[in-house]
Amino acid sequence: MAFNGNFMCTSFKKELLEAKHNFLASGGNTFRLALYTNSATFTAATTAYTSSNEISNTAGSAYVAKGVALTNVNPSASGTTALTDFADASYSSATFTARGALIFNDTASGDPSVLVLDFGADKSASNGTFTVVFPTADASNAIIRIA
């Protein structure tokens, strides 16, 4: 199996209505970005973080299990659309290859998943920096939007 596109997890949508996720920059939950090989089998039905098929370092120790903690950006509104964003996520001194990622809530019980991200192809860094760049935080492109 392989990555097959980007998904907002269905369980996340349900959990939003149960107030399980807080995206505030101060006092909000900790969301993490874990990286995976192309053997990962994520879909919209994915419900939680898993270490299965998570990447490992080819060299060095830049990547640790569960990946990097994301920096929340306070939710805002643009017209009638509410949106939130994360600061770009970087791994420095990185030597590894990843095909996609899973954003999950590390604060909530059970590490519930938020988004599945498909990079479209294997992305590699060798003794360099590996950065995931989030889209523009506006009403048309923000990573999480409620319209």
Binding site: K123, S124, T131, T136, N141
Partner: protein
């Protein structure tokens, strides 16, 4: 009609992944990324607006690039002094020459 709530990813949604090999990103590369966060213009905007936005973006990139490079140089000065004070002049010299 009853109002409804839509939540999801944009249809053409795609994160970008930037990588480097054997080095970190340089000020030019980071400035480009930073400008994208500051300014974006719709493909459907009036051509004159698009032209103005792109011209403005080029100026922003150059400005950010300049100050990022300045920050790097200043940080190297700080590191150089810290290494010299700690008794590692050869290492400090190596940092200064980067």
């Amino acid at each position: 009609m009853i109002p409804s709530m839509n939540i999801g990813l944009p249809d053409d949604y795609k994160v970008e992944v930037h990588t480097s090999n054997g080095r970190g990103f340089n000020p030019e590369e980071i400035a480009e990324r930073c400008a994208d966060k500051i300014l974006s213009v719709s493909d459907s905007a009036h051509p004159a607006i698009q032209q103005q936005a792109h011209a403005f973006r080029q100026r922003i990139v150059k400005l950010i690039e300049f100050y990022l490079a300045d920050a790097v140089q200043n940080d190297r000065t700080t590191v150089y002094n810290a290494l010299t004070d700690a008794g590692h002049p050869e290492l400090a010299s190596l940092i200064r020459r980067l």
